[in-house]
């Protein structure tokens, strides 16, 4: 059941519209329901060849030798593609935005850094022939120690996953191994708080599980151009990535897509297009490269794992006065888009609440697993899980109703957010009120009367000074390692800090001028 609450915010809306707001049927509906819409794999080509890749069985290994002699002679094989055949065999997706260093080969040559990493591609008359040929490729591996846990990867002496980033973390601003957020003074906030509660949260990798797996068909066109029918979610991202890897001008590539069988973030990485086009270039024939379901599930990029610790200081009356977070994004063996998700998560903190003291340190960590990528809610889903579970625990701790507790702390128009921009156009309070009403969840009148448009700003727009000296390192959290069900009952009350008079607040800190800093400091050192 779905109902529009047109009564809310009606004064901010012009509802006198003809087409906007109508439940118009999709222009492609008939094609979809009759099965006639053309997806990338619905394009038939004469003489179509099939590309498949050999994938690493090791999490981490040196490649001593690759013997493809038998595969080259195998029936139906038209061409083997090795790392040396790829014109520019090192790339990072966000190099198109000048963010980060090239760190990922299309085909591995010296090392494999995750189980499932592509090493050799076979182009053959059929998928079966390609699989047969791959089975006869002999690779001599020297297995290397692997690291699969984000916090293990940060320890001194951990194996280096990605030689471009030897410390196993993405580099921010050419100086930090993580992105920082500092707003107010969390230590003072914890000292003032009636209760402090810390816990940690884990999100495992998940799969986008689209109906249509990642794939494309590339074919020679006239005039030395190549057409590519693709499942990409980002057409020009894929054009530009393929042009870079293949070292051709982008106008030699003609990408066609736009009708895609589910994406959810899993079709941005441009994993199949460069090799398929290269196959078409090397054989002069159309080449199809489509992930099978196993590849999609285990070696196509997942939503990466995230681990978060949340430490909050809360008053007995329900006000949250400090929130400190540490986040680890498990990027897998290469960067892809996790570096971006870290910044996005930092911009999102501390969630939709007004908290005067916030601090966060968020890391993009390399481990020897399938590189992670974007997925619906990228950079936010994991930390929202952590924050909202923690909010529930805090409400329990201070004996408040969890919806009233959220309304009390919700951000309002005019409040200052931790990334130092004023909140506007807020509507969290109204969502809480309406959801409670529909569920028949009673909340008190004073919380039913609150509004995102009233009571914000003023004191709530203040930015308190952040101490210059770095805070002392936080002691490791005294809880057992994963999985969480081995932990003691986690809703234990936190030890109360010693009662001290609240220190007087220092005057408002001057706002740094953003204009003096260059964005490229975030986006790494290289420029194409």
């Amino acid at each position: 059941m779905l109902e529009f609450r047109k009564d809310l915010f009606a004064d901010e809306r012009n509802d006198d519209l003809h087409e906007v707001g109508q439940p118009t049927q999709r222009q492609d509906m008939l094609g979809h329901v009759t099965g006639r819409s053309r997806f990338f794999d619905d394009h038939a080509f004469e003489g179509l060849l099939h590309l498949k890749v050999l994938r690493s069985p090791h999490h981490h290994a040196r490649i001593r030798r690759i013997d493809t002699a038998a595969a080259e002679r195998a029936p139906g094989v038209k061409r083997l593609i090795r790392a040396a055949d790829v014109p520019v065999n090192l790339n990072t997706l966000l190099s198109l935005l000048n963010f980060g260093k090239d760190d990922e080969p299309s085909l591995a040559h010296d090392k494999v850094r995750y189980r499932g990493e592509p090493i050799v591609a076979v182009v053959a008359e059929s998928e079966a022939a390609a699989h047969e040929a791959l089975a006869s490729v002999r690779v001599d591996y020297e297995p290397l120690p692997a690291v699969l846990d984000v916090e293990e990867a940060l320890k001194p002496g951990a194996p280096t996953v990605n030689d471009t980033y030897p410390g196993n973390t993405f580099e921010y601003h050419e100086r930090h191994n993580h992105q920082k957020l500092r707003f107010g003074d969390v230590e003072r906030g914890f000292a003032e708080a009636d209760h402090v509660l810390e816990d940690r949260y884990q999100m495992s990798p998940i799969e986008h599980a689209p109906t249509e797996t990642n794939g494309c068909i590339a074919a020679p066109e006239t005039n030395d151009r190549f057409v590519c029918h693709t499942s990409t979610q980002a057409l020009f991202f894929s054009v530009d990535t393929a042009a870079k890897i293949l070292n051709v001008p982008s106008n030699r590539l003609h990408f066609i897509g736009g009708t895609v069988g589910g994406g959810f973030g899993g079709k941005v990485d441009t994993l199949t297009e460069p090799l398929a086009i290269l196959g078409a270039m090397l054989t002069g024939r159309p080449v199809r490269y489509v992930f099978d379901r196993v590849e999609e599930m285990q070696f196509g990029p997942p939503r990466g794992a995230e681990r978060w610790t949340v430490k909050d200081g809360v008053m007995n009356d329900g006000r949250i006065v400090a929130r400190q977070l540490t986040g680890y994004f498990d990027s897998g063996a290469y960067t892809r888009l996790s570096s971006y998700a870290v910044i996005k998560s930092v911009g999102h903190l501390p969630g939709p609440y007004t908290i005067p003291n916030v601090s966060a340190d968020v890391y993009c960590v390399y481990t020897n697993r399938t590189p992670a990528s974007a997925m619906r809610g990228f950079g936010v889903t994991g930390v929202d899980f952590a924050i909202e579970c923690h909010m529930d625990k805090l409400a329990q701790l201070v004996g408040m109703d969890p919806i009233e507790f959220r309304i009390q702390n919700a951000y309002r128009d005019g409040d200052m957010k931790a990334h130092r921009r004023e909140a506007k156009n807020c509507a969290l309070i109204e969502c809480c009120q309406v959801a409670a009403e529909r569920a028949g969840w009673p909340i008190r009148d004073e919380f039913r009367r609150m509004s995102s448009r009233q009571g914000g700003g003023g004191e709530r727009a203040r930015i308190d000074a952040t101490p210059r000296a770095p805070a002392p390192p936080r002691p490791a959290l005294e809880v057992p390692r994963y999985p969480s069900y081995e932990r003691p009952a986690p809703d234990r009350p936190a030890p109360l800090p010693p009662a001290e008079p609240a220190p007087t607040r220092s005057p408002e800190a001057p706002r740094p001028t953003a204009a003096t800093r260059r964005f490229s400091s975030v986006f790494g050192s290289r420029r194409r």
Binding site: R13, S204, A305, V380, A427, C431, C432
Partner: protein, 341 residues
Amino acid sequence: MARHRGRGVASINYPIGMNLGGDPSQALVHANPSGKFTVALSSIDLGQGMKSVTRQICAETLGIPVEDVYVDTADSDTGPHCMGSFASRGTHRVGNAVIAAAKEARAVMMEAAAEELEVNPEDLETDGRGSIHVKGAPSRRISTKDVAIAAQFKQGRTISGRGIFLVPLSDVDPETGEMTPVTCYAHACLIAEVEVDDETGEVEMIAMYSAYELGRAINPKLVEQQLVGGAWMGVSHALYETTEPYYPDRRSGPRDFNEYVMPGPGDICDHDIAVLERPAPDGPFGAKGPGEMCANPVLPAVANAVFNALGVRIDDLPITPEKVLRALKAQGGPKPQARRG
């Protein structure tokens, strides 16, 4: 052994568009001589309705019926640049680009109509049904088809427009994280009701109640499709899915839909949805975008509902029966919390 009911809540906001901006999209709009318009894009329709949303926005801006607009996407030879369909950016970014392009095309259309009707363009308005008339004098009118014919064959005008929308790239302070992440946020609050079997550890969804605020629903049916489907993606993430069930141990992992468990038709429950619309000042007709955020509140709401039912906190996803049973064992049995509503 018993089944325990519980309710949990979560509230969230969600940033619209690529974080820090710097993610442009373009649109081209042009009319053929019959007064039918084509929108050329390179944005991707993943099923979410990119083509429908841009089609309705274009029709609204031009002031013509939606049937007179067709959206052509995505061919890199004919579609102008778009960053892509991700980051809840389609409606907001591409929608604004389409408005800009349609406004430019509309201005030419009105000039052409004014020339035919021998009036000033400012004195004309569209009726949204395929005609342009003098304000206050609906009988002094001309169809958009006749305007297009006149523009093409008599006046030599191109009824076309170009549009781009770009949120300027923000800087990020290395030490404080000061930045402008995005220009607007969508909001949601969701209440999950579950029933947990303390013998099997299985969590059954009983009901969901939600309120989503998304600026403006360009197409309410597509919004419904996103919110209903997205919430189920959230349930699936909360209770079922992972490619690494024993993360960070990499040894076991599903390879197909027999092993990668997701909720089936028998697991579906009612979902009562309210949609709120607080227009974003820079959104196309105020629209934000429901795409990503609809799944997010479900995960913690389900975890909090499990706590309400049993008194155990499961802080790592997914909340499998195994984790529930181990937590119950550690706690010494279920401790149901106060009933909510």
